[in-house]
Symmetry: C2
Subunit: 223 residues, 2 copies
């Protein structure tokens, strides 16, 4: 019970909203649970609700008409799908899709409630615009990286990001190539080079970081 009545307070960006706004969010939203590996939205599959992620992560990626894939960004617990949903509402024909990477718990807010909140609460407006701004500046950074950053630097950076607090990443060369928008062979060669230097260890379907310091040094060098 307390789960459904207090999720707003556990949401970093929303906890400072006015009390009536919180109540509106709580009473008019539905908490949903989605298993991992589900496609939440994608081409021809627009969601009718705005989602606020309470737990889990959603991966947003894009399939090019050339058949290539690239991961655009991730939505973590405490963030909202506002922009993606808004995009879908405005432009049907875009190719990005959102996939749950883990089991996800989210609060679904209907479109009209969202519009109502934007109209009535200045702090909610700030929250929404801040989310948009953050996303756009992140996309700017991503364009810069894809266009100008060396691949070894980007891979080292991505390995550290994916490892988080663990030392072993359960992933394949293929998945890593989608993360960076490159080819599987290229990832294989770079990982071999990292392994040759003793920075990582590989086995089928997993990469283990041995020397995080050196990886970080490479990643930060030109970032």
């Amino acid at each position: 019970m307390s789960m459904e009545t207090e999720w707003v307070d556990r949401f970093p960006g929303l906890s400072r909203l006015e009390e009536p706004v919180k109540q509106l969010l709580l009473t008019r939203s539905t908490v949903i649970n989605v298993p991992g590996g589900t496609t939440i939205f994608g081409p021809g599959n627009s969601p009718e609700n705005m989602l606020f992620l309470l737990d889990g992560t959603v991966r947003v990626q894009q399939v090019s008409d050339t058949g290539h894939e690239i991961v655009l960004y991730r939505i973590h617990a405490g963030q909202s799908c506002v922009l993606t949903t808004a995009c879908l509402l405005a432009y049907e024909n875009y190719s990005a899709e959102g996939i749950t990477e883990t089991a996800v718990q989210a609060a679904a807010v209907p479109r009209d409630v969202f519009d109502d909140l934007v109209a009535k609460s200045k702090s909610f407006r700030n929250f929404v615009f801040a989310a948009f701004s953050k996303r756009i500046t992140d996309l700017f950074l991503m364009i810069d990286e894809v266009a100008f950053q060396r691949l070894d630097v980007r891979l080292a950076d991505k390995l550290i990001e994916l490892a988080a607090d663990k030392d072993t990443i359960a992933t394949t060369h293929q998945k890593l190539s989608v993360e960076l928008g490159t080819a599987r062979e290229v990832i294989s060669r770079q990982l071999q080079e990292f392994q040759r230097r003793g920075w990582i260890e590989q086995s089928r379907g997993s990469v283990t970081l041995l020397d995080r310091t050196q990886l970080a040094r490479l990643a930060d060098h030109n970032s």
Copy 2:
């Protein structure tokens, strides 16, 4: 006089707003004129107003910390700087800058008026969110192009875009390389190849399209 009182009606996205909203926009905004080549916003230079472009174009580009530059998008007459301005307000430390490519006439709307309009008018909200969505989907497309599209295809596409209705483009290889986020030498080689095929003609500081059909065929082939 009629210029200052009717710009809202000449603005495609705003002409269908409610009458009171239009009045608010007109009375609380200032029409400004800026010469070409001016940096409207950039690092450490946040504008305090939202701009609605009445005439001219603004080029938004980014300087990487590696020294590379890339053009992110352009704002044309009839569009607004909403998102760029919003971004600047939220995150000071980003590296994009906006430069007027021609003499520009714009309506400047103070931040509090903008906020007021978002609160009061549903159609204005739709206008703003549509602008954000369009920008984000365009950035998605750009990431796809930078990551996966061949350079000859992108260059052919860009040449056609820059030519618009004319046949001769006044630009340098250096500027074209910034448009695509690549190196000047690469542009030089590609243009030589296009010239060898008889598709274009070059002279110092200008490119003339001779066979737009072939260029378009290359550009559309994988787009």
